[in-house]
Symmetry: C2
Subunit: 348 residues, 2 copies
DNA sequence: ATGAAAGCGCTAACAA
DNA sequence: TTGTTAGCGCTTTCAT
């Protein structure tokens, strides 16, 4: 037939394409890269592109990364992908990154500093071009160090107050305020609050907002109705609400700092023979996937996690391309109270 | 002081370590690699290791991968990480891979062949050393192609019957049989089955097992009580059960091919004013996270997803190290029926 | 036990 | 417009 032969076995390289096209590898490189294609004779470029396609040529990301010092990968640090909060964030991130040719490397830290350090090191060995971090604690030496190294970095979900980090968070203030107002509108006056771990920005902000909103809406805040959970977890929520129930101070509603804590509340209520919302109304935070399947369906503050991921990815790409900002901006995404069956008006 | 100075800015390379140690880079390479360390004078090696640590040296995974043609990364193809089934599998995979120095690259395919093809190509560009695939369809040209390319490959969750692929699946036969027996023990005789998409191995196996188990246990299988869902999704389950309810053939229990379909059953029952388990008992499959929080709590066949991921990762590492097996083995993991509140004895 | 040298596949500065 | 050359950081063969 007289055409060139297509090697069936090994992965073709630029050199293979160059040989088949009868040109130098550099020309092939230029022709195949859209950025430099204009430097090449249009017909030659077309021929090269065609040959590359026929051979099934795919650029070697390792070689390109080594040469250009850009890997087109980004590291994503999460507490735990099995927490339903995070998969939508990840999908949002990938939705933005993939079309731009970037690959996300996911790492779980389990909120353990050692593990986080190890994951971070591993990702750096793979020369990721930047980080999206969902594991920020209010005091976070590791993140301060990363920032000093001038690596593109965006925080998501949680932030570090006044840290100057670029971050994407939910409008927790609006969310908690709406939740408190909803309960008060239903006639509740004795409202308990289950706060999250004090080293997380979201926990502190939601707690402070709860106090302020209740006061502003004319409901006295009773310190005995505020319990701290050591983790955003079902077990911690169960334990915290059990402590409140065992206490003397009565209450008709509880606002949980997040949905997992609210799930724990359901457990505690059931074990104590209390009904929801008959005896006690519950509101959660995050509106995580499948939370609407509970009985009674949980009223919760919906956070746009998918959009959060998208925004974080966009901000990271911007940093990768334009360089680090002098001072990071914090993007606050709107939230919405989704009323379901877990809240009821207090009996007259 | 008189020590060597530690460069604070750029990432140190082998060369930096070599200069500080006064030896050749090759010696540093040998000393730092446990496999070749014995070739180096013990004292020299110790000195090099110490200097490398002081400098904060980290091997460049891109350079190493380029040189050795092994990237120490593996690709993981999932339908969708937001399906709660998959995060535990991913964690299981990482639990095995990370200690061995491997990094997992996660890709979502949304069960779309185009997207899967694109993801696959992207992962190949990054020269992953192998694939763990949770997206297998019974007829899957892409996977057959990959296999011909002699790339290490392990299927997880789903398999391809008689395809010769190494795979890790649940013991669906035992699971479905236990579920059917449970319903029959409760006195049910009119049992509906909601099958999954016919192009998935799990769907076919569970359907066939249902038919066989029911017959063997002395319950006639009525074709009118078998509905096919086009997807493993809530919406598909809702639609399928609604069709059955609208039909003439009565039934007292429904076995869903997976939990998402069972979730859809809850929706359909509620919309039709039927109670569970009062009017109709429901059993799911997978026992996915949070499924126990439903009301009534869903009886389901527990599948050890975490262990599934671990096993798949182990088998993949074996392939990467020992080469591809002539014919892949299928590992079947034990399952367990978890009885919760969604099933009740039929009224006499 | 160590050094020298080559080269993995690619891009980019420089030359022609 | 195209070719030449060098080199990213590492491993590995060969030589000493």
């Amino acid at each position: 037939m007289g055409g060139y032969s297509v090697p069936m076995s090994a992965v073709p390289t630029l050199r293979d394409v160059a040989v088949h096209a009868g040109v130098h590898v550099a020309t092939v490189s230029r022709a195949l890269n859209p950025e430099t294609r204009h430097q090449v004779n249009a017909e030659t470029a077309a021929r090269i592109i065609s040959i590359a396609r026929d051979l099934g040529y795919r650029p070697n990301a390792l070689a390109r990364g080594l040469r250009t010092a850009r890997s087109t990968t980004v590291g994503v640090l999460l507490p735990d992908i099995t927490n339903p909060l995070f998969p939508p964030i990840v999908r949002g991130i990938e939705e933005v990154l993939l079309p731009e040719g970037y690959t996300a490397l996911i790492a779980n830290t389990d909120n353990a500093p050692d593990q986080e350090e190890a994951q971070f090191t591993r990702l750096r060995q793979h020369h990721v071009d930047g980080f999206i971090v969902a594991t920020a604690r209010r005091d976070h030496p590791l993140l301060r160090r990363v920032r000093q190294e001038k690596i593109p970095l965006v925080l998501v979900n949680r932030t570090i107050e006044r840290g100057g980090f670029t971050s994407v968070v939910a409008d927790d203030t609006a969310g908690v305020t709406a939740a408190v107002r909803h309960l008060i509108d239903l006639g509740h006056r004795d409202i308990a609050f289950l706060a999250g771990p004090s080293n997380l920005s979201t926990a502190l902000l939601r707690l402070n907002t709860f106090k302020r909103a209740a006061a502003e809406l004319g409901v006295a805040v009773d310190g005995r109705l505020i319990e701290r959970c050591e983790a955003y977890s079902e077990a911690a929520g169960d334990a915290a609400l059990s402590r409140l129930i065992a206490g003397e101070r009565r209450f008709t509603a509880v606002l949980a700092s997040n949905d997992l804590i609210a799930l724990g509340c359901y457990d505690a209520l059931e074990r104590n023979g209390l009904s929801c919302p008959g005896d006690i109304s519950v509101i959660g935070f995050n509106d995580m996937p499948f939370i609407d399947k509970l009985r009674p369906p949980l009223t919760s503050v919906h956070v746009p996690h998918h959009e959060m991921g998208r925004t974080a990815a966009r901000l990271l790409l911007k940093q990768i391309r334009d360089g680090l900002p002098r001072r990071g901006e914090t993007v606050q995404l709107p939230v919405e109270l989704v009323v379901r069956g877990s809240t009821a008006a207090v009996r007259p």
